[in-house]
């Protein structure tokens, strides 16, 4: 006998056991008893379209057992919005309670994405972002590159117009903690450039600020591709000539016997030189260094770059 079949509160429900099994072995699915019983009550209430407090409790039970079952989440959301309370105050209270419960569930199941979609529905209905930034930051303490959580963060910024409410400082904090966190770099790009109608790095002041930010980060970790990608992106979108970066890049990609501190710098230097008048040969030398010493796993790529400059490919007569 199970939890639900013995509970007088559920005596009016005839559970609907699964009809899976039958003659078809591929479709036969063996459940643990507890899960099977709970699912059979869910099927029964769904068939009767019951939306009630006890169904909320039932879905909570199921989600605890298996948070990836999308049908359960969908039905829970329907229920929640149907029974949320008679007054606005009651509705707000029930949505807040839902978020509190979701906090624990999200922290326990970090790879699950249904949780975040559900959270979006609830917070959207609530119409308030209060407490959300703090919660997301708690999630990032556990995994600062969680793709679902970052998607949620971007949704929040758009939905509640948070563009100028501490987002830039937030990315600065995360990048300060881990300069190699590409997700945080991407979010910075989004905050600076993603707002509809904003100039982003096409605005000269913004561009200067972002170039300086990237350069500082590169100074801290020259081998980190995130900073270099960002710098290139800003230069390109901001309409900067790459040549303006030459002095800076040169510090990390000393060509004439200087120290090479970053293959990314060498890569960018090759691009800068290639744009210069008479710089092709030197660019080719940078590409050779990448091919032979600093990034040999991509030797064919570096070779391709040389060919694009009209330089002889490896094996060809010099």
């Amino acid at each position: 006998m199970g939890k639900y079949s013995q509970d007088p509160q559920w005596a009016d429900i005839t559970p609907l056991p699964t009809d899976e099994g039958g003659p078809n072995p591929l479709a036969a699915i063996a459940y643990s008893d507890e899960y099977a019983e709970t699912m059979s009550y869910l099927r029964a209430v769904m068939a009767a379209d019951e939306k009630s407090e006890r169904v909320l409790a039932l879905t909570e039970d199921l989600i605890d057992m298996n948070p990836a079952h999308y049908t359960v989440w969908l039905y829970r959301a329907e229920c929640l919005f149907a029974v949320g309370g008679a007054t606005e105050q009651e509705r707000q209270k029930s949505l807040r309670q839902e978020l509190e419960w979701l906090n624990d569930t999200a922290l326990d199941h970090q790879k699950n994405y249904q949780i975040w979609h559900h959270r979006m529905l609830v917070v959207d209905k609530l119409g308030s972002v209060e407490g959300e930034q703090e919660f997301v930051e708690q999630m990032f303490d556990k995994d600062a590159k969680n793709y679902h959580v970052w998607s949620y963060r971007q949704w929040m910024v758009r939905r509640f117009d948070l563009w100028e409410k501490g987002e830039l400082e937030f990315t600065e904090g995360l990048i300060g903690r881990d300069v190699r966190n590409n997700s945080a770099w991407n979010h910075r790009w989004f905050v600076v450039n993603g707002r509809e109608g904003s100039e982003g790095v096409k605005d000269k002041g913004v561009r200067t600020r972002e170039v300086e930010f990237a350069m500082q980060a590169i100074g801290r970790a020259p081998g980190n591709q995130c900073g270099w990608n960002y710098l290139r992106g800003v230069a390109r979108k901001g309409g900067m000539g790459l040549g303006e970066l030459k002095v800076f890049v040169g510090q990390f990609a000393g060509l004439e016997g200087g120290e090479v501190r970053s293959s990314h710098a060498l890569d960018l230097m090759a691009e800068i030189l290639a744009e210069e008048e008479g710089g092709r040969e030197e660019a080719g030398r940078a590409l050779d260094m990448l091919k032979e010493k600093y990034d040999p796993i991509r030797r064919n790529y570096w070779e391709y770059r040389k060919v694009m400059l009209g330089l002889p490919a490896a094996g060809a007569a010099a």
């Binding site: 078809n24 960002y230 290139r232 064919n300």
Partner: protein, 336 residues
């Protein structure tokens, strides 16, 4: 098809180098077959929401290994059709709600097994019914939702185009009929997902991710806009980003900068490079060695990385990755 992990781990067992060992084809076939008999394990019900996709992964791997009948085709069709809803969508297993992802898996399986013959026999106008379910999930901005709740994602968009193309019901495939979907709006949305680093994310603004790049390139490839949208410069930039995913120490790929390697990116990165014609920019030998190190040479199955538990998802994507590289004995696959 159970999606339980294990029992084996990648890279354990024999002391042989992967080079000498090669791909243990027969063991992988036996491993996939064995999943069918492991439905009693606790983990099996927890992965039920993926079941139909699990069958797709297992079946595709078997096709690539040249043994398509290793799972009985009648049983496969029977199971898939038992997941079909009246609205034309498929759930992950009988009794689960219809969802885009599982509808795509179902279409892929039915195309592979008997080219929809059984479907059309049992469900009048079945192909069109499925196509309408998919088309109805398109949103005014061109994206596709996964279900009636409206969550959108470039995975769903690619899946929709992929399935409609297999059903032969994309607008260009039936020029005389009114179009079921708005292809222009869909591709415009994909284009808006391109990032400053040349990659694509799950939505406009979201971080570039090799899996999402695959879905976006696949979508553009199906609609015939890959070359015109990216151009040579775009392909070079994207190819540079993708080839940078190969890590020198292991030879495997990661999916985003500064993340761990995972054998499934052999497919996501590899097929993306193949679609833009830059497959030569990676070290295929090192990638092959990495994939072979992820297999369990004794019990079959392939793990995300050496030392972890094997599962059918990684087994499939690893074998598909080998197919892209032209590994001997593995059939060639269409990257899109």
């Amino acid at each position: 098809m159970s999606l339980v992990a294990g029992p084996g781990r990648g890279g354990t067992g024999s002391g042989q180098l992967p080079d000498e060992l090669g791909l243990v084809v027969q063991k992988h076939v036996a491993y996939i077959q064995s999943l069918d008999t492991r439905r009693d394990e606790l983990e099996s019900h927890l992965t039920e929401h993926l079941r139909i996709s699990g069958i797709y992964w297992g079946l595709t791997a078997l096709h690539l290994l040249g043994q398509p009948a290793a799972l009985p085709p009648e049983e496969v069709i029977e199971f898939v059709l038992s997941c079909l809803h009246d609205n034309g969508g498929f759930g992950a297993a009988p009794g689960h709600d219809a969802h885009m992802l599982y509808t795509v898996s179902a279409v892929q399986i039915l195309a592979m097994v008997d080219d929809f013959v059984e479907l059309e026999m049992r469900v009048p106008n079945g192909k069109m019914k499925i196509a309408r379910y998919i088309a109805d999930l398109q949103q005014p901005n061109g994206t596709f939702a996964g279900d009636e709740w409206g969550e959108t994602d470039t995975r769903f968009l690619y899946g929709a185009l992929n399935a409609l193309s297999l059903l032969n019901l994309l607008p260009p495939q039936r020029k005389d009929e009114p179009p079921l979907i708005n292809v222009t709006a869909a591709t415009d949305h994909v284009k808006a997902c391109q990032n400053f680093d040349g990659g694509f994310g799950v939505a406009p603004g979201a971080e570039s991710h090799a899996g999402q790049i695959f879905t976006c390139l696949g979508a553009l490839s199906i609609t015939g806009e890959l070359d015109s949208f990216l151009g040579e410069e775009g392909k070079d930039r994207l190819g540079a980003w993708l080839s940078e995913r190969q890590l020198d120490d292991s030879g495997g790929f990661n999916g985003r900068p500064m993340k761990l390697v995972d054998v499934c990116y052999a497919w996501w990165v590899g097929s993306s490079l193949a679609m833009i014609g830059k497959m030569d920019w990676i070290d295929k030998k090192k990638l092959t060695e990495f994939i072979l190190r992820c297999q369990d040479p004794e019990e079959g199955g392939i793990a995300d990385r050496p030392g972890d538990m094997v599962d059918v998802f990684h087994t499939h994507f690893a074998i598909a990755g080998l197919s892209l590289i032209g590994y001997p004995g593995v059939m060639l696959v269409d990257p899109a």
